[in-house]
Assembly symmetry: C2
């Protein structure tokens, strides 16, 4: 079966693809000249007259450089792959938007996401590398994933605390923030605290949990209880609802979620269970999402700068790709505790 224009149906759109050769013919120059103009390398190498001819022909024919040919020749495509685990967290929307802006027009940002609740499968790395992306941005990896990256891969890790000195990394000071949060709760007089973790086993969550638990223990707090859930608000709510009777019986008076969305779930479930926050239970999270200040009660949170993270990682990767000065390869962005009503009781305010 054929389409109206006679091309076979299962044939790719490429049947009528405009090639550099067509542009060259149209402009009366060689494909080498077309390539130089189109890739922005014409300065001092192509006459103004030819440059204009090519630009006109490109516009007339609607030419777009074919990535397959270009990738094969140059060794890499314009695609940057962002590897992410939980895109449902609004933290990502900010990160992606900032990373794309930092990478600029010459690169196309595409996401490779794992199934909900699972870390990224290391087996996907070779498949992705066979695409010859210009580079990788890898958010919240675990050790296994980092170990599976072949030497020479152009990659920047994001929020990968303590994972690598080999790979350029933009970190968030999640450990410092977690410690500050533990001190905050100790100062408020809490003696037994709990932690609601993610089911996804990645390094940043391990570090958050351990830094919080270790600091709390050092301060004489008891941190006996943990539970896990997906990042989705409502999974966290169910997880909390299920463990709360036991935690309550154990005398727990404060719960920390490993992200703000987990904390939102805790707040929601606490409300349902009739637990007054912060009087009967203090609640806090990580990320300081834009909404956290508008929660009721407003949420105490370790502020982690999503846009700065995306921006710094995007810039670093771009520098690496373009062979310029990559700058400092181990960046640590500061975090700080934002104290709000979900932990600080009214009289103290």
């Amino acid at each position: 079966m054929d389409t109206a224009d006679g091309s076979p149906l299962a044939r790719p759109a490429g049947s009528r693809r405009v090639t550099a050769a067509m542009v060259a013919r149209e402009a009366g120059v060689s494909t080498a000249t077309v390539s130089l103009v189109v890739s922005g390398k014409a300065r001092g190498r192509v006459s103004a007259a030819n440059q204009e001819k090519v630009e006109n022909a490109v516009a007339r024919l609607g030419y777009v450089v074919d990535t397959a040919g270009s990738s094969l020749s140059k060794g890499f495509s314009p695609v940057v792959v962002l590897i992410a685990t939980d895109i449902t967290n609004p933290f990502y929307a900010e990160l992606i938007s900032a990373a794309r802006a930092a990478l600029g027009d010459r690169y196309e940002l595409l996401l490779s996401v794992s199934d909900p609740g699972s870390p990224t499968d290391p087996a996907s790395i070779p498949r992705l590398i066979s695409q010859r992306p210009a580079g990788f941005l890898i958010d919240a990896p675990n050790a296994e994933l980092v170990a599976s990256l072949p030497a020479g891969t152009r990659a920047v890790l994001l929020d990968a605390p303590g994972l690598s000195t080999t790979w350029p990394t933009v970190n968030l000071d999640v450990a410092g923030g977690a410690a500050e949060l533990a001190r905050h709760l100790a100062d408020l007089g809490h003696r037994r605290v709990a932690y609601l973790d993610s089911v996804v086993e990645v390094e940043t969550f391990r570090v958050r949990r351990e830094a919080f638990c270790d600091t709390a223990a050092d301060l004489g707090l008891e941190v006996g209880c943990q539970a896990s859930s997906l990042t989705a608000v409502d999974d966290a709510a169910s997880a909390f609802a299920k463990v709360w009777p036991a935690w309550q019986a154990a005398g727990i008076s404060a719960v920390v979620g490993c992200t703000d969305t987990h904390a939102y779930g805790i707040l929601a479930a606490a409300r349902v269970a009739g637990v007054s926050v912060p009087d009967a239970l203090a609640v806090a999270g990580f990320d300081d999402l834009p909404y956290s200040r508008h929660m009721s009660p407003s949420l105490t949170s370790v502020s982690l700068p999503a846009r700065e993270l995306g921006d710094a990682a995007g810039r670093a990767l771009r520098a690496i790709i373009e062979g310029g000065d990559p700058g400092d390869h181990q960046v640590m962005l500061t975090s700080r505790l934002i104290r709000r009503d979900s932990t600080v009781p009214a009289p103290t305010r």
Copy 2:
């Protein structure tokens, strides 16, 4: 500056890439034979002995087919691009997971996402096409985006009600669900209702809103008020909090959110404002996310099957790519109204 193995630093990982030629040499066969074996076309064309030699060599050398070479030769890459607007909605996590499973191992699913609150820029289509993806899955597009798809593009539209008979489409019966919801509210005695829409201007949201408003009007309801917000729960909460005083003054007794996450925001804001649901205000949404039944009160919602949508679209695209029977190109998945506590008052239950 050079790395330990002597390759220049800014050089792609490809410097030591294993090629089909190396495999061929190792196995003592031609690259044609390697290609046939690796791409699974060896049956009846390569001797068992050579097949085994190639497989061993592939394993020894860790060969992975290079996409750039393959794409150039075949005309398309193994990448399927999913174009999506609001990945923060948990609806997507399900859709993606199902679509990937339906596409199978031979394809790599990557996401192209727009900035938060914006529909996909049509200008991104030519850039994506220049990557020669095997196909596109395009969720919740608007007319402008669909119009910008060049003829011959292998694409399946998802949740694109009324947009196209040209492109294969898997639709959700959002209009039917919206109408059923309007009837449900009329049956419960509501006279004035409101609708909280998305800021993102895509067709499925327009159809939901219009079907709801038209049916409500036909039933004699007043639907004077609308407001918009991002899909994030908390944006919807702020939007609702802002308009509620006016809506309350206007006698609104029911509000429908264009997605469940919008409805979650309405529920949260209503609680903060001390508005009793469903007695003072009925609330409902679209999607019937897994959490909706666990909300408090449980949320009335138009059930839209995310996994079925991803599965059907993935299968359809795969059939199109592989030139087999694409089956019915205009699929409509059923929706139905799930009545829960957020609209049905206790005495009626």
